[in-house]
Symmetry: C2
Subunit: 313 residues, 2 copies
């Protein structure tokens, strides 16, 4: 007595069956189809018989002139072609995803970086990888690191960083420091402002938030120059700081990319005699165990950007 198995399929259908079926259906003839498939006729006959047995459906009527599709066969031909194209598309999409050309990149950004450099970088990346969807998240440094650990983002941008074993940082570019000053302020009359003069004027500092950050760089520079800066106000981000400068709230040290902020009444002046380090970095951070080809492609773009951005400097 034969035990009734839930599925009596001796050999489950696979894509070979479909390829062979399509060939036979299109050629209308097993012999020609076999030639097209680079096999001999008998195995093809058997594969078609197997397919019919597996489906429990007669797909062809055998005539002296060849194989003619039944109604069910006509339907199955459509289905088989559809399956073939679905498989092809799945393959291609997966390959593109594996090459970092398709998918999603979650990027954390912050205040002043977003003013000029990050948009340029993202634009360049998007040009090369148009099918990667970039999702931006505004986060402070602490949040960025947390989000990287939780894999909620793939890469973050920041200025000041201390390396950790699980998070790798990579320089994007460095920027000159400039003085943002109200046009009616006395220092606005000087074309190149000596750094030491800042000792006499209150500064707007930013950002408040996770330390250390740009604010510590600014304070450190003042200390190196031998003075303690007078703080007129601490604010959250560069845009707010420059806005305060525009309304006469004092002076502000900014990275040069902040000059895209053309607020009325604000002028930017280069500094002279700035203590080392006189420049400020913009870096990106990502998981050291990164395996994502999408991030890999993005980092390549970052390196290319750094090469072009820092060569003319």
């Amino acid at each position: 007595m034969v035990i009734a198995s839930p599925e009596n399929a001796v050999s489950p259908m696979d894509l070979r069956h479909l390829r062979y079926f399509i060939a036979v259906a299109e050629e209308g003839n097993i012999g020609r189809a076999a030639a097209r498939m680079n096999i001999s006729q008998p195995p093809l006959t058997r594969q078609i018989q197997q397919l019919e047995a597996e489906l429990g459906v007669t797909l062809f009527t055998r005539t002296p002139r060849g194989m003619e599709l039944t109604e069910a066969g006509v339907l199955f031909l459509e289905e088989a072609r559809n399956i073939r194209s679905v498989v092809e598309q799945a393959t291609e999409r997966t390959q593109r995803a594996g090459q970092g050309k398709l998918g999603r990149l979650d990027v954390a950004i912050f205040g002043s970086g977003i003013l000029d450099i990050i948009p340029k970088l993202l634009l360049a990346y998007k040009g090369r990888y148009p099918d990667v969807k970039i999702v931006l998240h505004t986060m402070h440094k602490g949040e960025q690191i947390e989000a990287l650990r939780q894999r909620r983002i793939s890469v973050g941008f920041n200025r000041i960083l201390q390396p950790t074993p699980d998070i790798t940082a990579e320089l994007v570019t460095t920027e000159e420091l400039l003085l943002a000053v109200n046009a009616r302020h006395p220092l606005a009359q000087i074309e190149v402002v000596p750094f030491a003069l800042l000792a006499d004027h209150p500064l707007v500092l930013f950002p408040t938030g996770t330390r250390p950050s740009f604010i510590d760089t600014a304070i450190g520079l003042c200390r190196s120059a031998g003075f303690i800066p007078k703080v007129s106000q601490e604010v959250g981000d560069a845009v707010t700081a420059v806005a305060l400068v525009a309304s006469g709230f004092g002076l502000c040290l900014v990275p040069e990319s902040a000059t895209v902020l053309a607020l009325p009444g604000v002028v930017y002046r280069p500094l002279r005699g700035v203590p080392e380090p006189s420049r400020v970095d913009l870096s990106c951070i990502y998981r050291s165990d990164n395996k994502s080809p999408i991030l890999e492609g993005f980092l390549e773009e970052v390196r290319a950007f750094r090469a072009t951005a820092m060569a003319p400097a």
Copy 2:
């Protein structure tokens, strides 16, 4: 030197790869996935490696705790599940088509058949095979046979038929002959009309078109009864004939199903003393070499219909 083949795929992907991949992705672990697939662990390891090699994409990151999908792997899992369901649906649809449950049935109909019997039959069929799309074509007998030969229709309905080797006819039902007569006509006063009385009144005959047909049956009956019918008019179909009767154009012999035509002023009277054959057949015709499971299902329905329709008679 190795010859560069157009497709470097050593072993093309097949559905087994997808089944295994889905199992591993869902279990997160080759061992459990192997158990689920009723195979041992090593072959599964190899199949996954093959799939990755074939795609050229790493689908899993191997961790000490198991297999974790990469981004490309996540995408491919979606794709694989989609392919699986497309294949399942294709299989099911094809099987249904093979059982005559899915597809299309082209049916040729004619004038008086469509009045009552054919609609009932089609309705019964549609109840049992809801996914077969019935397409109706109005055709005379000659056209029907031509269309059957060209496979433009699968089945046709008609009354008079002479068998041919390639076209099989099958009785659907037989109907009593009735007299359609205007209510103001003298014969309308008689409850059961003796057939011989028709000799004195002009008849509307139908259809014009391919002979022999119902018109020849009617004329034959009159001859058998010993008179030549006076013809008031020949028309194309039963509806027109009865319409003429309604407007006082004469009498008309109709199959009993024509009584659904309740035109004002028309009454139907049974006949008495009708020469043999006193009944008229409704048959369907189809190709003798029929292989279509859809038509097979339809013919079953026809036979069931005949059994119920002729039992009470």
